[in-house]
Structure formats: C-alpha cells, structure tokens
C-alpha cells in the first residue's frame, strides 16, 4: 500500500489549521519521555529504519490530487523513503531544556516536504514530535513502544508475535446506513452552531509563539474513596472551566456558554498496535462560566450529558459523520459552524490524554515520567491537558504568547491543583 487516507479527526485538525494559512503555524504535538539516562540515538535510528521496512507512514508525505482529491499520506518505494530525523543534544540546564522543547513545538513540520515525524534526544529526555494529524497521542505512545520492541528484538518482529496492523479497518456498514447516522450528527452540530463561542484568543489575528508549562503532581491518597470522581473528565473539565471563568470575569467577558470539544478515544483499551490516524470522536460540552460556581453540580451535569450522548448514539454518529469529510472538510466546517470563518473554534482545549504505561524499559532505559504537549491555535489560544505516568499526574498548559500571561497560567494551575487535591512533586 502506498497511500493512507486521512481519517475524519485528522481532517478536522488540518481544516482548522487551514483557517490560519500563510502564518506558518505549528501543528506539532510532542510526546516527552523522561528516562533515567540518555538513550543512544543510533538505537532509535536503527529501530526507525526497521520500522520503515514494515510500515512507511512515519516517512510519508501529505498529498492531495488536484483539484478535489482526498488528502492522504503518500509513500514511495522503501529505498526512496528518507528516515525521520533523529537529533541528539547533550544535557542542559532545566531552562535550556524547556526552551529547546518550546522551540521543538514551534518548529512547524511541513508534511508536504518532510517526514511527519522526528525525534530529539535532549539529555535524559526522548522527544517524539509529529504533525498532529498523523496520529493521536495514544498512537504516538504505541509507536514508541513498538520501536522499543523492535530495538529489543534486534530489529525483528518478535518470534511468534502477530504481525502488527498499522491501519484501522474500514467501517463495514453500508454507505446508506452510515449516511443516515451522519445526518443525525449534523443536526446536533447545527444546534451547537446557534451560539458562537468566544475565547481568550478572540481578536488575536497574528501568529504568536506557542508556550507550554508542564508540572507533575502526586495525588493525596487519603482522598482515595472519591479518587475516581476527580479522575473523571467531567470533573476535570468543570475545574478547568472554573479556572478560566475567573479570567473571563477579570476581563469582563460575557457569560456566553463555553464550547469545548472533548475527544473520545476510539482505540480499544490495551491495544499496543501503532495504528496511524487520529482514532477519535468528539463530544461537545457547553456550560456557562457562571455555572462553575457549583463544581460538583456542574460535574454531575456534564457527566449526565456525556452519558446521554453515548446512550443516544451521538458520539458514534459524530465519528461516522467525520468520516464524510474526506473531500471538503473546510467547506463543511464553514457551512455547519459558520463562526469558524472568523477563525473562532472553541472556548478552550481540554483533554485527558490518559496514562502511558511502559512495559519494562525503552531502548535500555527506565521511564521516569512522560507527557504530551500539543500545539494549539491562536484561537482559543489556551489548552489544558492531563497526563499520567509512573504514578504521577502531569498537568500541561499550552498557550499562545499574548493570549494569557505567565501569572495567569500560574493561577490556572493553582485552581486545578487545589481542586484535584494534588501535591506538587517538583
């Protein structure tokens, strides 16, 4: 196979980015893995090379036949596939390391001209950077684990192991049925479009540098009985909403409902296969900044709406509908969500990226921590992401310079930390 069609969620990511065409905005996402010692870059290069023998997509190019063909990943012969770049920099101070990570996030990958994936070894950090539409965070985790597996077995698929699958199976349902399901999602999207969202980035028109802050925390164990509740995305979303509502009030923004897309991971749990593409559907949460005053009630309401969206098939319908974006994703977005023409997207980004559970060592090193840091658009201009690894909770706040200040980010982190009962570890 030398072509891989983009999935619906990939196309949404490409479409939103296109709204800012010409500014060279980054659509990178980072997966940062902290190890107990630096990895040998040659081992990564060798594993990537062996991986390309099995699957070309980390070295493919984004292509689209003129004029209205579907966007896809195109790969040539194996001999002509340039391996993704693996760079190596020695250990540096914390500040220098963070500056290098932000530079990595901002150095936009152009997937039409270079591989959509690259690797940076920064002292004890192993950083996988990819063009976000290539795969979702769990896809990136799985790819890294697969590369480490190849390294462990001398570059071969382990004896007796099933040959890995890199592409999701197509939806087996007939076109007519999928069309019917997709139409029900469209009706829901039209209802959402009735009230345009605003964000802290509203009014921003120029490119700003993307910044991020990662802090790791430990949960206080005595609160174990209600631990599950605070790990629920509904609770976390309500809490992030409360932190941002404070800023809304301070800036005198109106009490217009937040509109926040919540990604739903469609990958089977425990699936270690490095399947490419964003295997996601979306649930759209709406609540007013003023509703964050009663956090338990808001979390309960958001949770009830998510259950309702699952019960009536809305989330599944969203996944099916996105698959119809093959040819004209932007045109669809502009028609169904007219405010996107003004470059408004959502009020803020928020996602629970879940847990990275490394099995044993990676490239001979022990994993100490890991987190994802995705680039975001100037509007909404801020995103809050939860990650877990090795018993620690990571909070990653990403923002566009000029949209919020460092002090405001500190306040956002404090509100969330307090609400989750986390103790800072470093």
């Amino acid at each position: 196979m030398d072509r891989l069609a983009l999935r619906g969620a990939d196309l949404v990511l490409v479409g939103m980015h296109w709204l800012w065409r010409g500014l060279g905005l980054s659509n990178n996402t980072l997966f940062v893995v902290e190890l107990d010692a630096p990895v040998d870059p040659e081992r990564i290069r060798r594993a990537l090379d062996r991986f390309l023998d099995l699957c070309p997509w980390p070295a493919a190019r984004l292509a689209r036949p003129f004029p209205w063909g579907a966007l896809h990943w195109a790969a040539g012969d194996r001999a002509g596939l340039p391996a993704p770049l693996v760079r190596h920099r020695p250990a540096a101070s914390d500040d220098e390391r963070h500056a290098a990570l932000e530079a990595e996030l901002n150095a936009a990958i152009d997937p039409r001209r270079e591989p959509p994936l690259r690797v940076l070894i920064l002292g004890r950090l192993l950083v996988l950077t990819w063009f976000h539409p290539l795969m979702d965070p769990r896809g990136g985790q799985n790819l890294l684990v697969h590369l480490a597996d190849l390294d462990r077995h001398g570059g071969r698929v382990p004896e007796g192991a099933a040959r890995p699958v890199f592409v999701a199976a197509p939806d087996p349902r007939p076109l007519r049925e999928r069309g019917r399901i997709a139409r029900s999602s469209l009706a829901h999207m039209r209802a959402l479009a009735a009230v345009p969202p605003i964000s802290l980035g509203t009014g921003v028109t120029a490119r700003g540098r993307i910044r991020f802050r990662q802090q790791r925390f430990l949960e206080r164990e005595p609160a174990g009985e209600d631990r599950r509740a605070t790990r629920e995305i509904s609770w976390r979303l309500a809490l992030v909403g409360r932190a941002l509502a404070e800023l809304w009030r301070r800036r005198g923004l109106p009490d217009v409902p937040f509109l926040v897309p919540i990604s739903v991971d469609l990958r089977p749990k425990g699936e270690p296969g490095p399947i490419f593409g964003n295997l996601l559907a979306f649930h759209f949460a709406r609540f007013r900044p003023s509703e964050t005053a009663d956090l338990p009630e808001l979390a309960r309401t958001l949770r009830g709406r998510m259950a309702e969206a699952l019960r009536d098939g809305q989330i599944e319908a969203n996944a099916v509908a996105m698959d119809f974006l093959r040819y004209r994703p932007l045109r669809w977005m502009l028609r169904e969500l007219p405010w996107t023409a003004e470059r408004e997207t959502f009020s803020f980004n928020c996602a629970d990226i879940g847990e990275f559970v490394p099995a044993g060592t990676l490239f001979g090193r022990t994993v100490v921590n890991a987190y994802h840091a995705p680039a975001i658009l100037p509007r909404p201009g801020i995103g809050v992401f939860f990650n877990r690894c090795c018993g620690q909770s990571n909070l990653v706040t990403t923002w566009v310079e000029g949209v919020v200040s460092e002090d405001e980010v500190t306040r956002i982190v404090d509100v969330i930390r307090e609400g989750l009962g986390w103790d800072r570890t470093c």
């Binding site: 509740a229 749990k269 259950a307 559970v357």
Partner: protein
C-alpha cells in the same frame, strides 16, 4: 451459596461486555483486574454504566461511584447484587 453465584454471574456478564466492547482483542481483563489500570477511561466507564442500566435496570447514581464499588468487574458486580436486594 446462591448470593455468591449471582455475583459471579454478574461479574461474568460485565467482563464479557468489557472484553467485547472496550478492550482490544488479545488484551482481555479478568473479574479482579483494576479497570482504571487496564485503561478504562471516563467514556469507557460510562459505556459500562449504560450496560448496567440496560441489563440490570438502573442508573448508578454519582454518590455510589466510590472506588470500593467500581474498582473491578467483581466490585461492580457486588454493588449491583447489593443494590438489587430488596430493602
């Protein structure tokens, strides 16, 4: 011990649902496995609660979502059996 076997049957039904609808093939869970540790996230857990609603006829209230009730399929089965008992 009829109560025990009820709980086992419910746990078996939960495990079958989770393995068929949430877990990847080749990565099944058992009745005592920690659901969170197996990667069952918020949305996946809501799917389990919808299954409970469909099969056992009630929606689990938020105040009962305690770790002791939902840590594993067996813990959830125990809760379902207790809940099903006449007051």
């Amino acid at each position: 011990m009829p109560k025990q076997s009820d709980s086992d049957r419910v746990a078996g039904a939960l495990v079958a649902f989770i393995n068929d609808n949430i877990m990847a093939h080749g990565h099944p869970i058992g009745p005592d496995d920690d659901l969170e540790g197996a990667g069952v996230d918020s949305m996946a857990f809501l799917k389990i609660l919808l299954f409970v609603e469909r099969e056992f006829g009630f929606w689990m209230p938020d105040e009962d979502l305690l770790r002791a009730n939902i840590a594993s399929a067996r813990a959830l089965a125990g809760y379902i059996c207790r809940r099903g008992k006449p007051a």
